[in-house]
């Protein structure tokens, strides 16, 4: 890394970012088998400064992924296992009376920090806690601060929440409302491993414990990369394209595809469009580019928008998935103007 007294140029920072992304993937890959796209998406969330909701069946390595990432980044890791009886104070922490050595009260209260004070927080099975408890986490996610006994406590940056959801066991769960889901930058669907990946998983996990992954980025470097991500340039046509994409997810939009009008009740909002551009910037950053491409927006559109769409009754009855609808939108909305696109394609 370049010494702090000699700040690298932007060009150099971009190169470093690409290199760091590569190194991170490699380090995580030493522990996690496969799931390259999931790793990438988690990194997009980290770089863009957002939070990630991981959805997948139990045992797919979600927790391991988060833990490994925390180890690679030299960040404080905490885990909260959400259960129905979990209280908000269990997450945020509470003030406790300080006792002396004799066991007598000193008359002073001391903050006993909860797991939310970590830097990479794994909120496991977030949908199992009550909405009240969920809202305590979500407030911290939005504000990057918690208020305990009237005292506002700012969380240490980078504050990165990764929540997991089990889509199978829905009994006794409290599904997150759309307004709260909107606070997650990405919703990453963790797929089941392929047969080859599974074989490799078996080989790694049934022998001796795997060595800890190397530390790739320091706390300061992560913060620097996050700042760099915001500097990535986005041309006006790309911004317009992102806006068109988000606009076409609304059933009221005049040019919305038929699948959207039929299958959705509400589309993505402003926060969705912002997330789209931020995530696209992260993609560009991790690839060492100074500008966002149309393809970046297309690549991030599914994880960014899939949890921001509210299906209609018809959509649910027909079994239309949000990914299916978003694919239709991507196909429906051209990135370039029609005449230019025709000329490009005519070659």
């Amino acid at each position: 890394m370049t010494p702090p007294d000699d700040p690298p140029s932007f060009e150099r920072q971009l190169e470093l970012a690409a290199h760091a992304a590569h190194a991170l993937r490699q380090a995580v890959g030493e522990v996690i088998v496969g799931q390259a796209e999931v790793v990438d998406q988690v990194l997009w969330g980290l770089m863009a400064g957002g939070h990630v909701l991981l959805e997948g069946a139990p045992g797919l390595g979600k927790t391991l992924l988060v833990r490994t990432l925390a180890e690679c980044l030299e960040l404080r890791f905490s885990r909260i296992q959400f259960t129905p009886d979990l209280m908000p104070s269990d997450i945020t922490g509470t003030n406790v009376l300080v006792m002396d050595a004799t066991g007598r009260s000193t008359g002073h209260f001391e903050l006993h920090r909860g797991p939310i004070f970590g830097q990479i927080v794994l909120a496991d099975e977030i949908n199992r806690a009550t909405p009240k408890t969920q809202s305590a986490l979500l407030e911290a996610m939005a504000e990057h601060a918690v208020t305990i006994a009237g005292t506002r406590n700012v969380l240490e940056e980078p504050f990165f929440v990764l929540a997991t959801e089990n889509p199978i066991e829905m009994e006794g769960t409290y599904p997150l409302p759309e307004a709260q889901l909107d606070r997650f930058l990405l919703k990453v669907v963790v797929p089941s491993p392929s047969e080859a990946e599974l074989t490799q998983i078996l080989a790694r996990t049934t022998g001796r414990p795997v060595a800890a992954p190397p530390r790739v980025l320091s706390h300061a470097q992560v913060l620097a990369l996050r700042a760099l991500c915001r500097d990535i340039a986005v041309a006006e046509p790309v911004l317009a394209y992102a806006a068109r994409l988000v606009g076409n997810t609304s059933p009221e939009h005049p040019g919305a595809p038929e699948l959207v009008r039929r299958g959705l009740r509400f589309g993505a909002g402003v926060r969705g469009a912002q997330s789209l551009v931020l995530a696209a910037k992260a993609v560009a950053l991790l690839e060492g580019r100074a500008q966002v491409a149309f393809s970046d927006v297309q690549r991030v559109s599914l994880p960014v928008l899939r949890h921001r769409l509210q299906r209609s009754f018809e959509g649910e009855a027909e079994g239309l998935g949000t990914d299916q609808i978003l694919s239709a939108v991507l196909e429906h909305v051209p990135a370039r103007p029609e005449a230019i696109l025709r000329t490009v394609q005519s070659g």
Partner: protein, 605 residues
């Protein structure tokens, strides 16, 4: 060499790339416009070729140029902006919107500098051919095809001319200097008439015929000429049947009924009832020629009764006709008597030849005008062959018979005739006068009505002849009766042929024997024709058309029947719309007598 700043380096490179791309886009638009113009020009050339305006086809190539200019103008109007062009370049160079971001100038200064530098490097590094827009497309083939089509149409033979519109049947013009038959209609103006109204009608018919002749001389539409001729014929036919009109019908029926009371005048009654004045005149002539005094007297009385009956029913014209017949009857009677006296005188002098005896006997029994003519000619020849002594002897005989008849109170006319005969035989001029008188005896006087009837018949046939000259379709001849002559309904007299007179084909062939029509041609008499029985006959539909003559007017539809009307009239009342010769056609066909009578009774009012 001074190194350009990234921004200026990028701008220069981008301008160069943009110029190339824009030029090719313009060229493509011009080609597209030219192709469209050539296509339109080919269509226009096709239209001009079809319109036989091949001289104008080369000018359609101008449309190609106009299309090219239009394409250029359209492309210039929709010229890509720098950002559009950058997007195009990014698309073709797969540069992840690097050029577009550089052109848009997005990002902070430091970032923009990096973007510009990378974009400039890209543009310098890449081969411009990668981003060349395609100029020629498959659609541009229309340019060459259109031009080739136009050129081909210039060299192609002219389009076939559309066929001239067909002239409507009968719309052709005919011009005839001489029209046969119309003179017979024009002659109607000179006919003796029974009343002023008829004279006016006949004069009008003659006038129309004259006008038609004039029109045909100057030229007119064939169908118009045929229509006028048909109308003329119909009107002539209606005039022929004037006795059956509203004014005369009751009187005609009453007169016929009066005649039919006497046995000897029943045929005359039939002829009168049919409105056939020619036949009626012949029958009266026959009755007047009869040798038996009582028969003649009975005929005269019947004629007188018929005249009174007609007058009583208000049939003034018929009454006049019957009065003239009565006058003629007396005159004919005297002529017949004189002929018989001459024959008797010759017989008493030396006897008559057997054929003369036969003619005399037939003349006395039947009194037909034909027999009268033959007898007169035969006696005239005998008179001229007499020697001087024989002539004196004949004169003596005549005087003696004149003396003998004085006691028997012969008719005054007869005595005077015999004296005249005796006197004329004495001298040569007298004999010449006698020959003339004999010729007149052979042609007994006809009534005005019969003469008019005959002339009307001639006029009607004249109209048919004119129609034939104009090329009116003729009825097809039956396979079994080529040139067949229809039998005459009754013996003819003079020029007045029967209605269904014998008009034979001179080429002969199997034909039905012609009737005893004296005035018409007899036609070929060979061959036989199947008999037509009454059961098989269905009105006119089964009647044979007259060969060589056009169709008569045919009735269409059905005439409404009303009580008291008769069906054996044409041109009036309910049957007014029927053709004038409809009933005549049935009457003139080979109908068994029984059937005719049955039909007559059926339609008797």
């Amino acid at each position: 060499m001074t190194e350009l700043a990234p921004s200026s380096s990028f701008r220069e490179a981008f301008r160069r790339w943009a110029r190339r791309v824009r030029a090719r886009v313009l060229l493509r638009a011009a080609l597209g416009g030219a192709a469209a113009g050539a296509g339109v020009g080919a269509l226009a050339a096709g239209a001009l070729w079809w319109a036989h305006e091949q001289a104008l086809i080369p000018w359609t190539s101008l449309l190609t140029g106009v299309g090219a200019l239009g394409g250029l103008a359209w492309a210039q109007r929709r010229r890509w902006s720098d950002l559009d062009l950058a997007l195009y370049l990014d698309g073709r160079l797969e540069s992840r919107e690097l050029v577009a971001t550089a052109v848009a100038g997005a990002g902070e200064d430091e970032v923009r500098a990096v973007v510009l530098q990378r974009a400039a490097e890209l543009l310098h590094r890449e081969d411009p051919r990668r981003a060349r827009p395609r100029v020629v497309s498959r659609w541009h083939a229309a340019l060459w095809l259109g031009l080739a089509a136009s050129a081909g149409l210039v060299l192609a033979p002219p389009a076939p001319r559309p066929a001239a519109p067909e002239v409507a049947p009968g719309a052709e013009r005919v011009q005839l200097g001489q029209v046969e038959g119309l003179d017979r209609i024009e002659a109607l103006a000179r006919l003796p008439t029974s009343d002023r109204a008829q004279a006016k009608r006949l004069a009008e018919l003659a006038d129309r015929a004259q006008r038609l002749r004039e029109q045909l001389r100057q030229g007119m539409e064939k169908r118009e000429a045929l229509a006028q001729l048909a109308k003329l014929r119909d009107d002539v036919s209606a005039e022929q049947l004037a006795l059956g009109d509203r004014a005369n019908r009751a009187g005609t029926d009453a007169a016929a009924e009066a005649l039919s009371r006497h046995t000897g005048t029943q045929r005359a009654a039939k002829a009168l009832g049919d409105g056939d004045l020619i036949e009626f005149d012949r029958e009266m002539q026959r009755l007047a020629n009869q040798a038996e005094q009582s028969a003649r007297q009975a005929a005269k009385e019947a004629l007188e009764q018929a005249e009174r009956a007609a007058k009583a029913r208000g049939a003034e014209a018929l009454s006049q006709e019957l009065g003239e017949q009565r006058r003629l009857f007396a005159e004919r009677e005297q002529q017949a008597e004189a002929l018989r006296e001459l024959a008797e005188a010759l017989r008493s002098q030396g006897g008559l030849r057997p054929e003369q005896e036969e003619l005399l006997r037939e003349f006395g029994e039947q009194g037909s005008p034909e027999t009268q003519r033959q007898l007169t000619e035969s006696l005239g020849d005998a008179l001229l062959e007499l020697s001087e002594a024989e002539r004196r002897q004949l004169l003596e005989n005549l005087r003696r018979r004149a003396a003998q008849t004085e006691g028997n109170a012969p008719a005054p006319g007869t005595r005077r005739q015999l004296e005249d005969l005796a006197r004329q035989l004495a001298t040569e001029p007298g004999r010449e006068a006698l020959r003339e008188q004999l010729r007149q005896l052979a042609q007994p006087p006809a009534s005005e009505g019969a003469e008019r009837e005959g002339a009307l018949g001639e006029a009607e046939r004249g109209g048919a002849e004119a129609q034939r000259q104009l090329g009116m379709p003729l009825p097809s001849e039956g396979p079994s009766t080529p040139g067949a002559g229809q039998p005459g309904a009754s013996p003819g007299k003079g020029g007045a042929a029967p209605k269904a007179g014998a008009q034979g084909d001179p080429n002969g062939g199997k034909g039905q024997p012609g009737g005893p029509g004296g005035g018409g041609e007899h036609g070929a008499h060979e061959g036989t024709t199947e008999r037509v029985t009454g059961e098989e006959l269905r009105a006119k539909a089964s009647a044979r058309p007259l060969p060589g003559l056009p169709f008569q007017g045919a009735g269409v539809g059905r005439a409404p029947a009303r009580p008291g009307e008769t069906a054996n009239q044409v041109g009036v009342e309910a049957l007014g719309s029927l053709g004038a010769a409809e009933l005549g056609g049935v009457e003139g066909s080979e109908l068994p007598q029984e059937y005719r009578e049955q039909v007559g009774r059926y339609f008797q009012p």
